[in-house]
């Protein structure tokens, strides 16, 4: 296999869904021309946005669970839908899901999932090898095979079970892990442990993450780059430090100000959106109706993708940060 410049290259990805039946239904653009890429260096890319912004659709397409309407996903130079076999794909890309209690069946001991993964995708030839692989993966998340063996999902706490599902993803030694809201169901006291685990896995094993979340404070804490989605469009992309400290898109600014911070109290209220599904297919700026900076042009044509620096871009007529010369 030849070395490629990028690990994952998402090119002009769009996905339409139909709401209602085929006669009265209308189209909804859940993802609208999204392009992203992850380089070879291990990195954590956070995808943030409110519910219904297309985060999970993006995750499903990257995981090959859903076909895009337009555009393609290139994994190390190969088209992930037509260029890679299923087994090879699962070997390289692994998922972690939101609710660990739904990811495991209550009638099957959890170690069986680890063994199965090792046998099917991890290259283990017999059970002994599979157990070794499972034990190694469990140790890297602070558990071990003996403490997990024979237990069922109900005997774990949410934090522990999420660690087991991270361990399961690690068994195949993937290049990329797609984590869809992995800490949404986890208590505050455990959340940081899980998020810290992502950082240490990135640094020790060189695995990249796509971390999908609506929790901006952990996104800022853990990630190298942040992509903000709004109604299916990628509206801002860049290094997390810069985006969080100086957001360029008015929506990112609104998101940042809405996190219930400890330290600074809210003063004024925010404007809510009313017609959510309609906003997906607008051909001008989708955020214009709620934006404090919107002018006439925002309500007429689609804003351009403005390059702010080598690593930052924003989809806006009036970015809050001036582009570098």
């Amino acid at each position: 296999m030849t070395a490629h410049q990028t690990l994952l290259d998402i090119q002009n990805l769009s996905r339409e869904f139909r709401i209602g039946n085929f006669l009265t239904g209308r189209k909804m653009l859940a993802l609208d021309d999204v392009s992203l890429h992850i380089g070879q260096a291990p990195t954590i890319l956070s995808v943030v946005g409110e519910s219904g912004c297309g985060k999970t659709t993006l995750a499903k397409i990257v995981l090959r669970l859903l076909k895009p309407t337009r555009g393609r996903v290139m994994l190390e130079g190969q088209d992930s839908f037509s260029g890679i076999r299923g087994q090879e794909f699962m070997h390289r890309v692994q998922p972690i899901f939101q609710n660990p209690f739904e990811a495991f069946s209550s009638r099957r001991a959890v170690e069986k999932y680890l063994i199965d993964t090792a046998m099917a995708y991890g290259g283990a030839r017999h059970k002994k090898q599979a157990v070794e692989a499972a034990d190694k993966a469990l140790r890297s998340v602070g558990l071990n095979y003996d403490s997990v063996c024979g237990k069922y999902m109900t005997q774990f706490s949410g934090g522990e079970l999420q660690r087991v599902s991270i361990a399961r993803a690690l068994i195949t030694s993937p290049r990329l892990i797609v984590a869809d809201e992995p800490v949404a169901m986890i208590d505050a006291s455990m959340k940081m442990n899980i998020v810290n685990l992502f950082k240490s896995i990135r640094d020790t094993y060189g695995i990249s993450f796509i971390y999908i979340t609506h929790d901006l404070s952990t996104a800022y804490y853990v990630s190298n780059t942040i992509a903000t989605l709004y109604r299916g469009s990628l509206i801002e992309y860049g290094p997390s430090m810069e985006i969080m400290e100086r957001p360029a898109h008015p929506y990112t600014e609104l998101l940042m100000n809405s996190v219930p911070h400890v330290g600074e109290k809210w003063k004024k209220n925010v404007r809510m959106s009313e017609a959510e599904t309609r906003e997906f297919s607008l051909d001008h700026c989708k955020f214009a109706a709620r934006c404090n900076y919107a002018t006439d042009i925002c309500r007429q044509t689609r804003p351009p993708n403005v390059r702010l620096s080598a690593t930052r871009s924003v989809l806006c007529y009036h970015p809050l940060v001036a582009p570098e010369e």
Binding site: E50, S51, S157, G158, G159, E160, D187, A188, S189, M190, K191, M192, N193, I194, V195, N196, H214, L216, S217, T218, Y220, Y221, M241, M244, E245, L254, L255, M256, N257, S258, V259, P260, H261, V262, G263, K265, W266, N269, V270, M272, E274, E276
Partner: protein, 331 residues
């Protein structure tokens, strides 16, 4: 004012009782927003159910009682209710916004019908046309669109349904409103607008809100006083700003220390270990196995929940109780 007196509440299960709330005593005052925080399984929702007297099998009130003194307001005389009779106060003097409030609306009735039912049952006497005007003006007070009255719940977004339920719970202007995780499962922007709506309502009506949430950021923004629960009991209680500035209990200290902040890239640690099982009786301090500052006494003796500073209580051997001398109190 709502007094919680030595409440112990249990769930009976096939494998034995689970004590979700253990001898907890505290007061909720009039005209304040009181927060209850803690991780899942610490008993905060059960405590709220006991406060609302929604005690049904398998939950039972094993010990203690809850006393609600509703002040005279809006032309209604003051009333006193106790555990067992609090149901009489529902909607009028005390209302409850359940967890996942966006899914409690009846899917086959329009929103206005569901409002009329509350008015019929608890106020009575109004004609529909008259109620409609009242409703419309109330909704516009809350800056909600009036045409939601003609919608079915499935036509509204989750955040809007949540606001409808809050509008219902506050429509008869009860003196005490209990909200269980009112904004969990909502986006930050929607969460913010709902929390601001709650604060505005409280200021306008001058009543009491009790907000249960696991999100300390929400408590910081909204509540005036905050109680931290751990393993079924209160471990610290005090004015929210003081609690954040100077947490006394090691659990509170670690919870606040684990909060990620924008603009702060220092590594943060979660709390190692897990809370104790509530099936077995707890000996000693419930936080002892996870506490970095544990001492010998913590293993054997459970610390009492006592006043340690004016207006602040804590259950920890490290924090000495305030001497109840009149001089100290005057200060």
């Amino acid at each position: 004012m709502l007094r919680i007196e030595d409440v112990t509440a249990r769930y009976s299960t096939l494998t034995g009782p689970v004590t979700a709330v253990r001898s907890t005593t505290f007061d909720i005052l009039d005209n304040e927003i009181f927060g209850v925080a803690g991780e899942s399984g610490c008993g905060k929702s059960t405590l709220l159910k006991v406060m609302y007297d929604l005690v049904q099998f398998p939950l039972e009130l094993a010990q203690g009682r809850v006393v609600l003194d509703s002040p005279a307001q809006n032309g209604r005389p003051g009333n006193r209710y106790e555990s067992g009779s609090i149901a009489k106060a529902w909607w009028k003097d005390m209302s409850y916004i359940p967890q996942a409030a966006m899914s409690v609306l009846n899917p086959v009735y329009r929103v206005d019908e569901q409002f009329y039912e509350i008015i019929r049952r608890h106020q009575g006497g109004h004609k529909k046309e008259h109620s409609r005007d009242l409703l419309a003006s109330y909704l516009s007070e809350l800056s909600l669109p009036v045409d939601i009255l003609d919608s079915y719940p499935h036509q509204l977004s989750g955040g809007m349904r949540q606001r409808v339920v809050i509008a219902m719970a506050t429509f008869l202007k009860p003196g005490m409103i209990l909200a269980d995780e009112p904004t969990t499962a909502l986006d930050v922007v929607v969460q913010r607008s709902i929390l601001m709506m709650l604060m505005e309502l409280q200021q306008r009506m001058g009543n009491t809100f009790v907000i249960v949430s696991h999100d300390l950021g929400v408590h910081y923004q909204v509540t005036g006083r905050l109680g931290i629960m751990y393993a079924g009991t209160m471990v610290e209680l005090g004015p929210t700003s003081q609690l954040f500035d100077e947490p006394l209990h090691p659990y509170t200290q670690m919870l606040i220390g684990a909060l990620p902040k924008v603009g702060d890239h220092r590594p943060k640690e979660g709390i190692p270990g897990a809370p104790p099982s509530l099936r077995q009786p707890i000996v000693g301090c419930s936080f002892e196995p996870r506490c970095p500052q544990r001492m010998a006494i913590c293993k054997t003796l459970e610390p009492a929940f006592v006043q340690v500073r004016p207006g602040r209580s804590c259950a920890c051997h490290l924090v000495p109780a305030m001497k109840s001398q009149p001089v100290e109190e005057a200060r």
